[in-house]
Each structure stands twice: as structure tokens, then as C-alpha cells.
């Protein structure tokens, strides 16, 4: 059989392309992709806005989070918690920080003083785009989902605690009941149903607001156009999606 060189190249190129396409299609078919008719992951990109000036330190968010997410009821385990900062005007470098029971029962009343500025800072997982915690997992049991939420695969977590050490924000713990890593899921079971997170639901002042950057109707776009926001530890370039408004520089 006599095949001209040119024709051979064209023909084999075609077949190569076809097999490539077929292989990709086959892979996608086998993959068992999550299917949810109402919720398309690629249409969402979740984060949270915290307005420090609006937080009254009531602790309802901490309580609600524990109830909603079945967090161990002891003062060592929190998906979200609230810190009270007391910045001494004479020594801004060393703010006094307290968080009794994560702020779940509120804070002991404090007298107003001319020497310090007091404010409350709610904290939770920053749902980083390039998170150190997901990068260190040896078994691929923690990851950032396509809609921007950092989650733990409880079935594959071996409880090695690397991620707990890697998180620069201290947002993870080992669940003493399952011996797997646990953390804020941004109430993933709620947001895929169109509900807001438990903490945002109960917040009386709107100090915490869940947002979806891929939703053009989300008020976050107007907010970000008009207000400066910042993230914690920006020098780590983790791509945090926990935006703070009116954050004091002493907060770490």
C-alpha cells in the first residue's frame, strides 16, 4: 500500500485527536461527578464579609454554629469563635485578647475606659483559594471545592494533624469523637440549598455576611466598590476569602 507522506500525517493526526476526545469523554463518564439538579458548583464562589464595627460580641453565631454543625461542646473546639480585643493606647503592640468559651456565652461586661479601644473580631475558616492546609494533606482528604469552600473528606482523613499545624489562622481541630480533622464548612449543607450559614442567620446586626462572588445580584459587589476590606495575614498569600471591614491593624 502506498500512502503519501502528507496524507499519512493528516490521517494519523485525525485519529490521534479522536482518541484523545474519546478518552476525555470516557473519563468524564466514569468520574461519577456530583450531580445536583438545582446547584451547579461552577456558578458559585463563596466567601464571607465581616464588619468588625457591627459585631456586638453576643456570641449567638458561636452557639448557632456548634448546634448546626455538631461541634463538640467543650471550650476547645470551634468552627467559629469571637475574640475581644482590648488595645491599650499606650502599647498598641500588645493587645489584650480574650475569648471565654469562644465567646459562646458572650463576654463579661467591661467598664468603658479612656486608655483602651475595645472591639470584637469574629473568626472562622478563611476558605483560602490556595490554602496551606490542603497542600500538606498526605492523603488528599482536604481540599478546596470548585465553588471555593475548603472541606474535609471524613472518610479518608487519617487524623495525622498536619493540616491543623499548617493553618495559619488556627481554624482546625481534631474531633475527639471521630479522630478526624474538622473545621468550618461554611455550612455547605445549607448554602447548596440556598440558605445562609447558621452564624449569619442568627447575627442580629449583619456583622457577618455570606457572599457569592459569582452571583451578579449579590450586594457584595456594591459593597466592595465603596468600602475598603482586608484579609488576615495577607503576607501569606493564601487567597483568603474572609473579608474584614473596619479591621484594626493589631488583629492577627
Amino acid at each position: 500500500m502506498d500512502v503519501p507522506r502528507r496524507q499519512f500525517l493528516v490521517e494519523s493526526g485525525r485519529w490521534l485527536m479522536l482518541t484523545g476526545v474519546a478518552a476525555c469523554a470516557y473519563e468524564a463518564m466514569l468520574a461519577g461527578q456530583p450531580v445536583d439538579a438545582e446547584y451547579e458548583m461552577s456558578d458559585h464562589w463563596w466567601g464571607m464579609l465581616i464588619d468588625v464595627d457591627k459585631c456586638i460580641g453576643c456570641g449567638l453565631c458561636v452557639k448557632a454554629c456548634k448546634e448546626e454543625n455538631n461541634v463538640p461542646d467543650s471550650p476547645y473546639y470551634f468552627n467559629t469563635w469571637v475574640e475581644r480585643y482590648r488595645v491599650q493606647l499606650a502599647d498598641r503592640e500588645h493587645p489584650l485578647v480574650d475569648s471565654p468559651n469562644g465567646g459562646a456565652d458572650g463576654f463579661p461586661a467591661l467598664e468603658e475606659s479612656d486608655d483602651e479601644r475595645v472591639f470584637f473580631v469574629p473568626k472562622l475558616c478563611n476558605h483560602c483559594i490556595d490554602s496551606p492546609c490542603t497542600q500538606v494533606c498526605p492523603v488528599g482528604a482536604t481540599f478546596r471545592s470548585p465553588d471555593g469552600v475548603v472541606l474535609v473528606d471524613e472518610k479518608y482523613c487519617i487524623g495525622c494533624r498536619y493540616c491543623i499545624q499548617a493553618c495559619p489562622y488556627g481554624c482546625r481541630y481534631l474531633d475527639p469523637r471521630t479522630h478526624t480533622a474538622k473545621k468550618c464548612t461554611l455550612c455547605y449543607h445549607r448554602i447548596v440549598k440556598g440558605l445562609t450559614t447558621a452564624c449569619c442567620e442568627v447575627c442580629p446586626t449583619g456583622a457577618r455576611q455570606l457572599f457569592d462572588l459569582k452571583n451578579p445580584g449579590d450586594p457584595i459587589h456594591a459593597y466592595l466598590r465603596e468600602h475598603p476590606v482586608q484579609v488576615l495575614k495577607p503576607q501569606l498569600a493564601t487567597g483568603s476569602k474572609l473579608y474584614y471591614a473596619n479591621l484594626d491593624g493589631t488583629v492577627r
Binding site: P34, L60, L110, A141, F143, K155
Partner: protein, 155 residues
Amino acid sequence: MKRERSDWAHLIRLGGLLVLGLVAFVFIRPLFIPEGFGVYGHYRAGAILDGRDHPLEYAGRADCEMCHSDVVDLQEERQSSHRRLSCEGCHGPLAAHAAAPDDVRPVLPDITPACVTCHEKSAGRPPLVPQVEVRDHSGGEACSSCHVAHTPGMF
């Protein structure tokens, strides 16, 4: 110079072993890779779905409003300053009640501790929420002797 067979026979054995090992690797590897691993990244795609089954505890205010329109209407009518608050912030998680109101009867919250959570005066609290020195303000009485939880204003 012609070599003796014994000089290179071990290479065949070695090569055979290598090929065998490769074949075994190709067949055994998939057994250890969980289904869906690598579809979106270095993790099991199914793990994304696992968390979605978690049961709800907080139904959300919109749910309460469907059945308790009396509370909502009263709040709107009086322009209550509590009309934007989450019902479950005071009443606690009630998704079970919202799903089966006749089976799960909520326990009414203890009113005074609930109010104090948000209204106790303390340094650092922004004036967004009116604050009172509880001891001086109520004189030890329950808040309910002068205020109504859903419509706390005095008029």
C-alpha cells in the same frame, strides 16, 4: 567475540521481573485509588457530596414566617426594632419544629437572659444596639414585666 549464554541470562530474568512488576502495578494501582479521585483535583469528588447530607438545625426566618404570620404582622405593624432579628437567635434551633410543628413543641426561651445577651452595656459594643446597665435599668425585675420580646418598644 561470542558471549556465553550464562553471561546475560540474568538480564532476561531481571527484565521479566520488571515487566511483571509493571503489569502488576498497572492493575493493582486502580484498586487503591478511590472513585472520583482527581476529577476536580487531588481529592475524592464524592467527598463534596458527602457533607451536603448533614441535617439542618436552623430552619431560617423565612420558614418561620410562613406559619407564624401573626408574629410577623404584629412586628411590621408596630415597626418593631426586632423585626429583622432571626427568630431562632432567641428561640434556638427549631428546624425539627418547622418540619413537624405538631410533634416538636418548642420550649419558650427564658426571656431575661435572652435580652441581656444583646443589650447588656459593655465597652466595645457599637451603639447599633441600644444598651442598658441591666441591674440599674430593670431593678432586678424580669425584662418581660415592662417589655414584650417581639415588640420591645414602649409604645
